[in-house]
């Protein structure tokens, strides 16, 4: 079965600092695979292990993020398709259109397309469903089980206060929840062989000249949380417990 996986290579958000004006500083911030996309890759690799096929990774990313691309391949993707973009893109309309068009051009035979439930940086949780809509195929998100049975796919969806069972005929885009699997750490052999796997760098203009951002961050400001930050020395458990309880009673929250 031909499988495509949409992967976002994001900034390591822990490493983004704010400058004196509260604006983000991206210099020297490492690029990583978005945490939830590891579940999407694992889902693709697992299906391949069961029934054979090819897992292709698609990403709108900077081709210089070699380590992150290599990691996706080490995790079991067979081929990489990188739609070149200078920095991690944040507009889901553009990203999803580019991913959908790249899949249509380079892997139109894909039966299941996996996408992580949310990205580590934006947590928008919309790209997978948008890819499906551009491709004109169904989307089922928050999948906690995926099983291929004959010519159908059975999907358990971890929804809003309900667990739902779905059945559909491929092609389909499936959004993976972190309950679906446990992403494996790549072995040394996998890491070494990743460098030999084919990676195609695509230009956005060739993939889809019409894909353009439809939203724009007008202003980005460091998140300020107004908190009291009263610190109590806990080296004496008795007095610190006493102090905390009396403060919380005074606040009227205990």
């Amino acid at each position: 079965m031909d499988i495509a996986v949409c992967v976002k290579l994001t900034y390591d958000v822990q490493e983004i600092r704010a400058d004196g004006n509260g604006a983000p500083v991206f210099q020297n911030v490492p690029i990583k695979i978005s945490e939830f996309d590891k579940y999407a890759i694992e889902a693709g690799v697992k299906l391949k292990e069961g029934s054979g096929g090819v897992v292709r990774m698609f990403s709108v990313a900077n081709p210089n993020a070699k380590e992150a691309i290599k990691e996706a391949l080490a995790r079991g993707c067979d081929e990489g398709y990188i739609i070149a973009y200078d920095y991690p893109p944040q507009d889901p309309a553009m990203v999803s259109k580019l991913l959908a068009s790249a899949i249509r051009i380079h892997a139109p035979q894909s039966q299941i397309i996996f996408a992580g439930e949310a990205s580590s940086d934006m947590s928008s949780s919309v790209t997978g469903a948008m890819v499906a809509a551009w491709l004109g195929i169904p989307f089922i998100g928050y999948a906690s089980k995926v099983q291929v049975q004959g010519d159908s796919v059975m999907i358990e969806r971890d929804g809003d206060n309900v667990i739902e069972g779905f059945v559909c005929k491929p092609p389909v885009v499936i959004g993976t929840s972190d309950r679906l699997n446990k992403p494996r750490t790549p072995t040394l052999t996998q890491i070494l062989s990743a460098g030999r796997k084919p990676v195609k760098i695509l230009s956005p203009d060739n993939v889809d000249p019409e894909a353009a951002p439809l939203s724009k961050m007008e202003k980005v400001d460091v998140f300020r949380m107004e908190r009291k930050r009263v610190l109590i020395d806990g080296s004496d458990p008795v007095s610190s417990a006493e102090k905390l309880i009396s403060e919380l009673r005074r606040e009227g929250v205990l």
Binding site: P92, A133, P138, V162, I163, K219, D221, I232, E251
Partner: protein
């Protein structure tokens, strides 16, 4: 403006919450809900000008079919802005609809503000470390609003309720089962007092220590991501954080939680945050109201016994 929500309460929140923005832009507010959610009159009482009920909504099995039903509603009301209640299903429907209609899509929206006659969506970005005001350049803009970000308020304007049948829209996926989730997994988001345990817990066998404390403060117990996802000491789905459960209690205790930004972004709506951690340099102390720098294994028993005494 068009609002879509599968939940009546959230529909009321969105209708009343966006009323001011709609008025300042001279826009009408139409609300579209499934027939199963009921309450058209209640939504009118919360500031809607028009309510459109989707009859036979339950026959729409996938977000693609629901998006098709909304395309019909779009033809009826020609909205400039579409607001979607950002439940899991809402996000999927909003996203699918955005690509179908070639619209821009802004998710996780906390607030809509008007600047120079243009609505901007406010949300957190970059893992919760920053906030941003985002504009949209497409003809129609879809904003997916976080549940409970807007406040519910009664403002009766006297509108109309109408019904359209969407039962003829085919579904390419088939829902074959629906099982309500076990309640205990999801009461954290509504709890008044929440106790969260993190990697400071040395082993699973020490959990009774924290459970005892949670009982003493009458709190619901949750955990940070590693305890659920990596260690499996908690069932999946009870971890607190930006992409896990977001909480808004009166009182929040985080014990042995370092305070990674993903976690902090999920607790910002807490009234009072208390942190207990043995590392005085833990980032969580930047985000708390009260912090005890000390050994949780010594402080927690002391707190528990004092609280039980009273």
């Amino acid at each position: 403006m068009l609002i879509y929500s599968e939940d009546k309460e959230l529909a009321c929140e969105l209708a009343s919450g966006v009323r001011e923005v709609a008025d300042s832009l001279s826009l009408k507010v139409s609300v579209c809900i499934p027939d199963s959610s009921g309450g058209g009159d209640v939504i009118l009482a919360h500031g809607a000008d028009r309510v459109i009920i989707l009859k036979n909504w339950s026959t729409l099995h996938g977000c693609d079919a629901i998006a098709s039903s909304l395309e019909r509603v779009i033809k009826m009301v020609s909205p400039r802005y579409i607001l979607i209640a950002g439940t899991k299903s809402g996000k999927e429907v909003g996203a699918y609809l955005a690509a179908r209609t070639g619209s821009g899509c802004i998710s996780e929206v906390k607030k809509v503000v008007v600047r120079n006659g243009k609505p901007l969506a406010t949300r957190v970005v970059y893992g919760g470390r920053f906030t941003s005001e985002i504009s949209c350049s497409s003809g129609v803009c879809i904003m997916i609003i976080s549940p409970h970000a807007f406040e519910k308020r009664e403002t009766h304007r006297g509108g109309s309720v109408e019904v359209i049948d969407v039962g003829d829209i085919p579904s390419r996926v088939k829902r074959i089962s629906t099982t309500p989730r076990v309640k205990s997994e999801s009461n954290l988001q509504d709890a008044q007092v929440v106790v969260c345990i993190g990697r400071g817990l040395k082993k699973k066998d020490d959990l009774p220590l924290i459970k005892g404390f949670a009982d003493a403060v009458n709190g619901s117990l949750g955990c940070s991501r590693p305890l659920s996802q990596d260690l499996g000491w908690f069932p999946p789905g009870v971890w607190i954080g930006l992409s896990g459960i977001k909480i808004k209690p009166r009182l929040y205790f985080c014990i042995g939680v370092s305070g990674q930004i993903q976690h902090v972004a999920g607790i910002t709506d807490s009234k009072i945050i208390v942190a207990i951690n043995n590392n005085p340099k833990a980032p969580i102390f930047e985000y708390c109201d009260y912090g005890i720098t000390g050994d949780m294994y010594k402080v927690i028993p002391e707190l528990t016994s004092r609280l039980k005494r009273k």
